[in-house]
Amino acid sequence: MAAVDVPLGTALQRRGQSNLGERVFEIATLASLVIALGFLILLIVQILQGALPLLGDRGIGFVTDKLSPRVARTGLNQAIIGSLQIALITVVVAFPLGIATAIFLEEYASDTWFTRIVDVNIRNLAGVPSIVFGLLGFAIFVRLLEPVTGGSTALAGGLTLALLALPIVVITSAEAIRAVPLSLREGGFGLGGTRWQITRKLVLPNALPGILTGTILALARAIGETAPLLVIGAATFLTIDASLLGGLTDRFTALPVIVFHWSKQPSREFVDAAAPAAILVLMLFTLTLNAVAIWLRNRYEKRKA
């Protein structure tokens, strides 16, 4: 056969010829990664540029003062409290419900029609646009349950975002529970434990880091959401004092709502200084939560490996 006569080194030559294409492709894929991350850096630089002068001027007052129509005097007091109220309600409502659903799906449910419906339903709920959750919240929590929530209040907003966070909590918790090795459960059953004892004493402690990661990400998402709160009727300006627990059934506002409102102001001062400063405070919350979640997961994965 002729191919056998090919002298050594021919293949190496061909390789030399088309190395360019190989390099270009690798660099192109790297470039798309760099561009995506570049946007993140640009965004942070842009926000710091606008925010730092104002924060330097105002110091801690920008966080503790109440909202004011004047840039020089406005603070984020009620917005921060509103966001904390939302976070609190999400933790109290979505976390137990979501984790319980995940335990049911992974540990208790057999393959019945009910289980299948819950499963499909959760996956679809996770993809529902956030503003649709706002429409639901307005119909149910603001209008139907007005005697309980008091209308467009922190309670109504928090419950709406808790429902939005629920499918995320379920999906991530179920994944964490599924990752616990079956042998652990079998060992537990062998010792005569009941299903609940095994779930509580063996499965949950092992799935905890994964569950925490998921719930923290869900919380970050709830704190950063704006659209449902606009539909619910969150205030863009408040004169009343906000209080974390006492004010659950009062009118409320939240950090992302204030960011939105200030971004749309005709006054340049609001758009150029106050809005970036509010974004910085908001991102301090969401990025810290994200970082904690990612750190937890990486630590856990390393331990498993």
Binding site: G21, E22, E26, A28, T29, L30, S32, L33, A36, L37, F39, L40, L42, L43, I47, P96, A100, T101, I103, F104, L105, Y108, A109, F114, I117, V118, I122, R123, L125, G127, V128, S130, I131, V132, F133, L135, L136, A139, I140, L166, T194, W196, L217, G224, E225, T226, A227, L230, P256, V259, S263, V271, A275, P276, I279, M283, T286, L287, N290, I294
Partner: protein, 309 residues
């Protein structure tokens, strides 16, 4: 204990222990049922109000034959908000597909484990930036420094800028699903290709990507669905008020399905007669159905590649 002594001993456990187990099972099942109740409430509230809105219309042709989306004058031209949604999600996938697929190919085929450990969390941080922040960025950075530089005639609020920002916002989602599907391709396929003399470029483009295609298509569909449902970027960067004439140029402002809802909810340009919120639920229902359809399709494709390998 001798084995014989077990005779006659019930292995079912004490009745109180069994009762507790049953109670816990029931409690968990009730928690699981909550999510179904949420879905039923969503569908019910959307349909109920949407129907009320349709019945309140004097002429059904207000949904397509009018000159724009003007709720105050009872012009609910669906073309206006559909076309805007299509333009913005179209621009966004033009941005998120190369960024997301490129990043995914790099992470899955080229990056060493160390680089991946550093870069992946940063991508996740980008995915975690609140959309209202990206909206602000689109309005104050992308519009003046990108769009207006290339197209000086562009409006201060325009769909192009919003589309680019939505693309940036959704590219981590695209990257993450695509990378999952690329990594699900078995190594034996790559090794066979290398063994035939192909190198990285040919292996990636002719073997790995085709093998992962259902996952990549799923990423594309789910990203479009996310882009259509994105509200804040569009509301901030693509249009200021609650009404808009029909607009097909990406350089002009317009209203998408989502920003039409947000603006109506904010009370700008609400109809003075009837229930202004009914029309908003009608748009919400359309949005829900469109994204649900896309999500089901995408989900099915994701499971196809998971099953294949």
């Amino acid at each position: 204990m001798a084995a014989g002594e077990l005779n006659g001993v019930s292995l079912a456990g004490s009745p109180s222990r069994r009762r507790r187990e049953t109670a816990i099972r029931w409690a968990l099942q009730v928690a699981a049922a909550v999510s179904i109740v949420v879905s039923i409430l969503i569908v019910y509230s959307l349909f109920e109000s949407a129907l009320r809105f349709l019945l309140s219309l004097e002429e059904i042709s207000a949904l397509w034959a009018s000159e724009g989306w003007q709720p105050r004058s009872l012009h609910f031209d669906l073309r206006t908000i559909f076309v805007a949604s299509i333009i913005i999600s179209g621009v966004s996938v033009l941005v998120s597909t190369p960024l997301g697929v490129g990043a995914a190919v790099y992470l899955s085929e080229y990056a060493n484990p160390r680089a991946r450990r550093i870069v992946k969390p940063i991508l996740e941080v980008l995915a975690g930036v609140p959309s209202v922040v990206l909206g602000f960025f689109a309005l104050t950075f992308i519009t003046p420094n990108v769009v207006k530089v290339i197209f000086p005639s562009a409006n201060g609020f325009n769909m192009l800028s919003a589309g680019i920002a939505v693309g940036v916002l959704t590219s981590p989602l695209m990257a993450s699903i695509t990378e999952d599907s690329l990594r699900a391709v078995p190594h034996s396929l790559r090794e066979a290709s290398f063994g035939l003399g192909a190198r990285k470029l040919a292996t990636t483009i002719k073997v790995v990507v085709p093998a992962a295609i259902s996952g990549i298509v799923a990423a594309f569909i789910l990203t479009i669905s996310r882009a259509i449902g994105e509200t804040m970027v569009v509301t901030i960067a693509a249009g200021g008020s609650g009404s808009s004439p029909f607009q097909a140029s990406p350089l002009e402002p317009s209203l998408t399905m989502t920003s039409a809802i947000a603006n109506l909810a904010l009370g700008s340009d609400a109809p003075v007669v009837g229930d202004p919120f009914a029309s908003l639920y009608f748009v919400g229902l359309l949005l829900f159905l469109v994204t649900l359809g896309l999500n089901i399709l995408g989900d099915r494709l994701v499971r196809k590649y998971r099953r294949a390998y």
